[in-house]
Symmetry: C2
Subunit: 146 residues, 2 copies
C-alpha cells in the first residue's frame, strides 16, 4: 500500500473521519483551505512571474473583475498576498507575495513539472489531452529553492 | 523579478494573454484543468492512502454522494483514476490510481510540506490560521520519489 510512502510517520496523526475540512488536521486539507481554488493558484503563479496589479492579473488571466477581486481578497485574508498602496491619487494598491506566499513555490513547481511531463507536447499547438502514461521528457525547470 | 526562478527557460513559451485556461500552454494551467478542484485533490490524497471504494471515499471525506460521484467521474475522465469492477453481484467498482495519478504524488507532497510548515502546530487542536511567517519545523515526510 502506498499510504506510508505519502504520509510517512504522520499517517496516524491525521484521522480522516471528520466531515469538514476545517476540522481536519491533515496538512493537505489545511493547505487547500488557503489555496484550494483554481483561480487562486493561477493568481499565485502570476505573482511569481512578477505581476502585482489588478489590471495585470485581469489581463493575464482573462478573469472577470468581480471574481479576481474576490480571489485577491481571499489570498490577502489567508496571508499569501499582502496589499500595498502604491498610489494615493488615484488610490491604487498592488499585491505582493508574503513569505507564506513565496513558500508556496514548491507546490507550483511540482504542478509545473507534472504538467510538463504529461500535458505539454513538443509542438506548442498540440496538447496531449488524454495521455495516461507519462511521456518523460527532460524539463528545464529551475529548481533553486531556498 | 522572480519570474525566471519559477519558469526558468520556459517563460517565453507560455504567453499569458489568453482568456481561457484551455488555450493556455502553461503546464500549471494544463495541470489545474485536470485536478484544479479541492475535492479532487482530497480524493487523490485518499487514493494514495489506499482507499479505492466509493463508500471509503465518502466516509473519509464526509462528501455528498452526488459530488463524490461527479469528482470520481472527472478523475476517471482525465485519466488520474481508473475504474475497475470488483464485484458483479452486486455490481461494484473500485477506483485505482493510474500511472498519471501516481505521478501526481510530488504535488501532494509539496502541499503536505507547505501545510506542515505553516498550518500544523505541535498541539493537534491549535491550528495557526493566520501565520504569515513560516515556522520552520522538521518534518518527517517520506520523499522517496520514483
Amino acid at each position: 500500500m502506498q499510504s506510508t510512502k505519502l504520509y510517512g510517520l504522520h499517517i496516524e496523526s491525521y484521522p480522516m473521519q471528520h466531515s469538514s475540512f476545517s476540522a481536519m488536521q491533515c496538512p493537505i486539507a489545511l493547505s487547500l483551505e488557503r489555496v484550494g481554488e483554481w483561480w487562486s493558484i493561477m493568481i499565485l503563479r502570476d505573482a511569481f512571474l512578477g505581476l502585482t496589479r489588478f489590471d495585470q492579473f485581469r489581463k493575464s488571466l482573462g478573469i472577470a473583475p468581480n471574481i479576481l477581486s474576490r480571489r485577491l481578497r481571499g489570498l490577502v485574508n489567508t496571508g499569501l498576498l499582502a496589499k500595498s498602496r502604491y498610489s494615493d491619487h488615484p488610490p491604487r494598491d498592488e499585491y505582493l507575495l508574503t513569505e507564506l506566499g513565496r513558500d508556496f513555490r514548491p507546490v507550483l513547481l511540482a504542478l509545473l513539472a507534472w504538467g510538463e511531463r504529461h500535458f505539454v507536447s513538443d509542438e506548442p499547438a498540440a496538447v496531449e489531452r488524454t495521455t495516461v502514461r507519462p511521456t518523460r521528457r527532460n524539463t528545464e525547470i529551475t529548481r533553486n529553492q531556498p
